[in-house]
């Protein structure tokens, strides 16, 4: 079987810690992930073709259905969707950008997603152990997205909509760094109770 999960091979016994309402770490591989680059006219054309107003300032994201766009830089937008949508999205965007100053790159398999879920304070505290951004809910409400780093690893951080007092954070990370990141998160989340998500579905392709 192919190497699919960054969490494979991690020993739960050494990573998990007791807790009533623990911080839960899971993986969300194979998400459709495109990197959209371009000058404003290209980004605007891309947004029109996707019927999605693209985010336009640091920390912001926009969504339409399962499609999400994260602002990563002035000419850099990440487009995310459910697994398997990359071909259709690519085709649409390539057509939209045909003669415009922009580019589109498929990074679906280059990265994976580690997702932290749990009590709002605990998840944000766990994130603050490695991420230098101000993650107070005032500065980083649900829906925020940032290009940043966690410890020694570059990440895209996406705070998803969540129930009150809960937090769900996705950390996009290059696949070769994912295992290191998962272990760092486990150490950071330990005092809040930390558990690896039991994966019900098989990840075999």
């Amino acid at each position: 079987m192919a190497e699919l999960s960054a969490l494979d091979g991690l020993d739960p016994a050494t990573l998990e810690a007791a807790g009533e309402d623990p911080v839960l770490l899971g993986e969300r591989p194979f998400r459709t992930r495109l990197l959209l680059r371009g000058r404003p006219e290209a980004l605007s054309a891309a947004g029109t073709s996707l019927e999605l107003a693209l985010p336009d300032r640091v920390g912001s994201s926009t969504t339409r259905g399962t499609l999400a766009a994260l602002w990563l830089g002035p000419d850099r937008i990440a487009l995310l969707d459910e697994p398997g949508r990359e071909r259709a999205l690519l085709a649409r965007l390539e057509a939209a950008l045909a003669n415009l100053p922009g580019a589109i790159v498929d990074l679906g398999e280059a990265m994976t997603i580690l997702r932290l879920e749990g009590p709002d304070r605990a998840v944000r505290a766990t994130l603050a152990e490695g991420c230098p951004l101000d993650l107070h809910p005032r500065s980083a409400p649900a829906g925020s997205a940032f290009a940043s780093h966690y410890g020694k690893v570059a990440i895209w951080l996406h705070l998803l909509a969540a129930a009150p007092d809960r937090c769900s954070a996705e950390l996009h990370v290059e696949r070769s760094f994912a295992r290191h990141l998962a272990r760092h998160l486990a150490l950071a989340g330990r005092e809040h109770g930390f558990r690896l998500e039991r994966r019900a579905r098989s990840l075999s392709a």
């Binding site: 079987m1 192919a2 190497e3 699919l4 810690a17 007791a18 807790g19 591989p29 194979f30 990197l35 680059r37 371009g38 000058r39 000419d75 100053p101 922009g102 580019a103 589109i104 790159v105 498929d106 990074l107 679906g108 398999e109 280059a110 990265m111 505290a125 603050a128 152990e129 490695g130 991420c131 230098p132 951004l133 101000d134 107070h136 005032r138 500065s139 410890g151 020694k152 690893v153 290059e174 696949r175 070769s176 760094f177 295992r179 290191h180 990141l181 272990r183 760092h184 150490l187 950071a188 330990r190 005092e191 109770g193 392709a205």
Partner: protein, 1003 residues
Amino acid sequence: MRQPFRLPSGGRIDRGRRVVFSFDGRSLAGFAGDSLAAAIMAHGVRLVGRSFKYHRPRGIFSAGPEEPNALLRVELGPGRIEPQARATMVELVPGLGAATLSGWPSVRRDLFASFDRAAAFLPAGFYYKTFFRPRGAWERVFEPAIRRLAGLGRAPERPDPDRYLHRHAHCDLLVVGGGPAGLAAARAAARAGARVILCDERPFLGGGLAMAGTCAPRIDDSPAESWVVATIAELERAPEVTLLARTTAIALHPSRHALLVERVADHRLEPDPRLPRERLWKVRPRAVLLATGRIERPLLFPDNDRPGVMLAGAARAHLARSAVLAGRDLVIATADDSAYAAALELAAAGVRIRAIADARLEPGALASAAEAAGLRVLPGWTVVGTEGRLGIRAATLARLGANGAPIEASARTLACDALLVSGGWTPAVQLWAQAGGRLAFDDARAAFLPDGPCDGVRVAGAAAGATTLGEALATARGAVAELLARLGFAIGPETGPAIDEPRPAASRPPWTLEGVWRRRPERSFVDLQNDVTAFDLGLALQEGFRAVEHVKRYTTWGMATDQGRTSGPLGLGVIAALGGRPLATLAPTTFRPPTSPVSFGALAGVHRGDLFRPIRTTPLHDWCARQGALFEDVGLWKRPTAFPRRGESLEAAVERECRTVREAVGLLDASTLAKIDVQGKDAAAFLDRIWTIDVADLPIGRARYGLVLEEDGTILDDGIVCRLGERRFLLFGTTNGAARLYAWLERWAQTEWPELEVWITPVTEQWATLALQGPKSRLLLLRAATGVDLGPREFPHMALREGTIAGIPARLRRASFSGELGFEIDVPPSRAQEVAEALAFFARDLGLAPYGLEAMHVLRLEKGYILVGHETDGTVTPLDLGLDRLLSKKKDFLGRRSLALPEHRCPERPRLVGLLPEDPHRLPEPGAQLVAEPVPQAGTKALGHVTSSARSATLARTIALGLVRGDHATPGTTLFATSAGATVEVALAAPCFYDPEGARLRG
């Protein structure tokens, strides 16, 4: 286990929890809430160490972070060792083991105590003047011996079993110091809605108010402690306030970036395995309020260092916190009013106070209170000496004459078991100075105070020079209002509480009692931790050191781990007095982070062991491991070195893998090669400026090998440019150069040529890359691949195709780094292992084997292919390597003009050559110098060096590449490759040993 110096009641300890610990092997008991120092004092233990240089007996001197003497080895379990802990800052927990650091065989019977009698021969600078020869003896003999004698403790021998974390934090206001000023400021900010972090290095908040007894001022007609408790309770309820006790601010950088070390676990009576031991907070506050308080100054007089001599405020704190007495029979010598509070509280606890010698003629109101309480106050008197061996037994007091010198005839000696001293207080301004704040000397307080602005940082309370609680709270209100207003918070006008406290009289700085310490300066200790006396400072001045920083370094005054908290102001005063210079013209020595010792664990955080740095593995890693790969580090990556079979040596495995590639087909995991996607209308134009080869005329579906040069013409990286479309390219670079190449491209695109429409994206991890190399590689792909015409003409060398392998979409490239027919195959990482399995299946009868980096190196060396970092070293140009054919003549590119410089074309430039050892079994070492004589004379300049070497099974001999001066690089020349221990005779040859026509790879 009686505790003769513990009161039966009182103190802020939990008497219900007895805590057993050990001290130098003795089992002792204290209570939860004790500091280690207080628990030791409760048993009447005086002697806690021998001094650094003279091995003089020393005792507990303080009750806080300024402690210079009571440095103990503290053990909390296997591997949990603090080699040099301040006993005043360690909280007592069950099973704690403390041990003194110095003295042999024991701290009581120290054979080296005689050093004290030889003190006259061991002045400042003694080391520099004595141990400088013979050469090398310092490192080997003297330093190890001196270190052992100095009693600095031993490093722990076992790995630290604890965990450490780092926490990033942001807030509107960081308050350093949890005394009254800090608490008041934090509360005002919290009420305004600001996000506040407050830290204090002690285990409790409240500062001086929490270390005082009945003499503490009253606030709004209640005990000050009620105010403290109420304020803390309000802060604990405030949702945006983080209170951090046991947290030391170790650094405040000029950008207001603050580093705090929180001691999370050591003090817990019941350990919680989920908690880290310490946490380093990296705080980025919008504003900082420093309420760091003040440190009491000792007095300076002969034999002022005996065990039993203690700061008066410290004795008061030990009484207030732990109900522990500094002694039962006290003499107090002061130059400040605060000692009277200590005297009154200790007297009320039943301690006999023989006399209070006050160096001032007019003490403040508290002195009258002391007299009213029946204590004997001696204005105009001071202490001039002490007696005792392992602890003080008597103190000698004398009246000060009109000239400030003690009158010998007045001297009288009083028996005592402790001497409390106070020479006034010094504001703690370390962090202010670190942050870039200026200091100015204040005559009234005889201290350096914060002066002028410092962006977003203010100081309040005693640290700002406040001498009363009322002043402290007022400065806090003012400072926090100013800071918050700048941040846009509205702060209501708040009037201070009513405070009932006496107005203190000015203190007399201890260094002005010159007549006292000048009597025996060699026994008047300025710096207790580093054993520096007033005599030493005088000697430094006499030897011509004028700058305070130089005096500090020559004498080591203020250079101990206590960072001169008690010795700094004394030393400055002595330097001023001896040099006849006003103190205001001197400046304290530079305050540098960290303010207090920090554990290595706290600095490292999680990044140790296998989390020291990320370990990157490829999608084929597990597959390679199953094939028996040995791995090596290449940057952060793990890559296979070779795949030795059972019983096979590494050398044999490499030989076999090379043969496999030359004769059949080998598989290399090339996933780590840098892959960079370049798109845009101007992509071709952009790459033409970067790469040495022509890119614009590269047809779609074809690849070209070329170089990337620095502006000076030297080689930065090499790699392949693939054209995927009219405006889209894929670049392949070296594994190690990936980040550098990407940064280089972005730099030119962003800063120099922003007008070009080009977008650059690293996509290394989007694809796994398998290299199939060898004469049977095409045959294998004919079986395994579909949808691609593999014929030599249909799929020529350096062409790109798309197809599928085992039904998995794949991108194929005909490329070779082995000199054989070869293909590189990119597949989605999630499918890479399936592809590898499929290839292995189809190659059952073809002799396919995986090969590693060692074989790859041999194969490329046989072909004379350069490896960036081996044949290049940042000084080597393409001309040196004979790669002129890669330099386009049709266009300009980075580095081209530099290559036209005559210096790059002169005959002395190095030239890449092949090296054939005369003895085909001997291997010249990479890095070996190439010289003309087998035994060169000393001073001979090398003609070049060996860059790579290998044992080639194919050629049945050793081969090497090297760089040799162009005017000595004629083929056939004999040179000698010399390295430590070996000289190998080599003949120069063309730098390609195998299939120079390239027929095999074009096959």
